[in-house]
Subunit: 149 residues, 2 copies
DNA sequence: CTTAAGATTGACAATCATTTTCAACCCAGG
DNA sequence: CCTGGGTTGAAAATGATTGTCAATCTTAAG
């Protein structure tokens, strides 16, 4: 987290941007809050303590976070962009429950490696990827099964 | 393709919907056109020959195609939904070039199997998944490399 | 063939997330 | 302090998609 702050400050400096109260407040709340929050969810949390901060500023700032690499944007099928902090989190992919919306994270070196292999076969240079598996989590599976019988 | 038509007709019948000129025309153009077309792209093609068909009807009809399984919706990061026909196409995933927008398809049984394994470890029941790999295709890689040097 | 109930359509308004505008305002360097 | 230029909040604009609704078409019955 200190590293995260440092990365953002240096990014700001390098780009000739400016360090502002709003950006600090938004970064604080972003790092404090749980992962996979939508822009709106983060905005609402911030507004509780800082009602003067505007919606557009939260949008703009989250894009800056993504640009400098301290946040990853995610798209889980509801029409909203969600962000998660990259600090102390290796790359990972997601299992998304279509029943309750739960999000499980996983990382599978085997899958990652096979992706490299596939890309190589096509002469393709990977910049990033996204693997999302949708289905029912272990809590939702039983209820769905009994509904069907 | 005949199977595709049949599937759609039966779906229409089963649901108590109706077979209309518009739906036939849209299905024709959908099957004739290339894959990964956005709704707008398909609409424009249709409009060339059938200017009376409305935008909303194309949207509605593509959703029907997806509902009965003859089309798969895709999201490649530009904000549009694209559809591809499932006829004569097994499930597959995509390599998307961030340089020229080219879309390469692939299918890797190893990756699919590892996904099953990961899901099983989490007691998760897979309904569907999406794997998208973004990067540079073999045409765009050279130009990017020389620009960087 | 005619009819009627109900599904469908096209034009257009409405949504929803996100972006842009722009005048007022704040930061950093001199 | 001062000033140039980045930043902000409010509101308007955007772009994809969906909802509305009166007119129209389908289909199965009569
Ligand atoms: Mn995550
Ligand atoms: Mn494809
Ligand atoms: Zn669940
Ligand atoms: Zn390319």
């Amino acid at each position: 987290m200190p590293a995260t702050r440092k990365i953002f400050r240096e990014f700001i400096a390098r780009k000739g941007l400016k360090s502002t109260q709003q950006r600090e407040i938004i970064l604080d709340e972003f790092l404090r809050s749980g992962s996979h929050l939508s822009t709106e969810e983060l905005y609402l949390r911030i507004r509780a303590k800082h009602p003067h901060i505007g919606y557009a500023t939260v949008y703009r700032t989250l894009k800056l976070f993504a640009e400098c690499g301290i946040a990853e944007p995610r798209h889980f099928g509801d029409g909203q962009t969600r962000y998660e902090s990259t600090h102390a989190q290796e790359h990972h992919d997601h299992l998304i429950c279509t029943g309750c919306g739960a999000i499980l994270e996983f990382e599978d070196p085997g899958i990652e490696q096979l992706q490299e292999q596939v890309a190589a076969q096509h002469g393709f240079h990977i910049e990033r990827h996204r693997l999302e598996i949708y289905g029912l989590c272990n809590k939702c599976l039983p209820s769905r099964t009994e509904a069907a019988q």
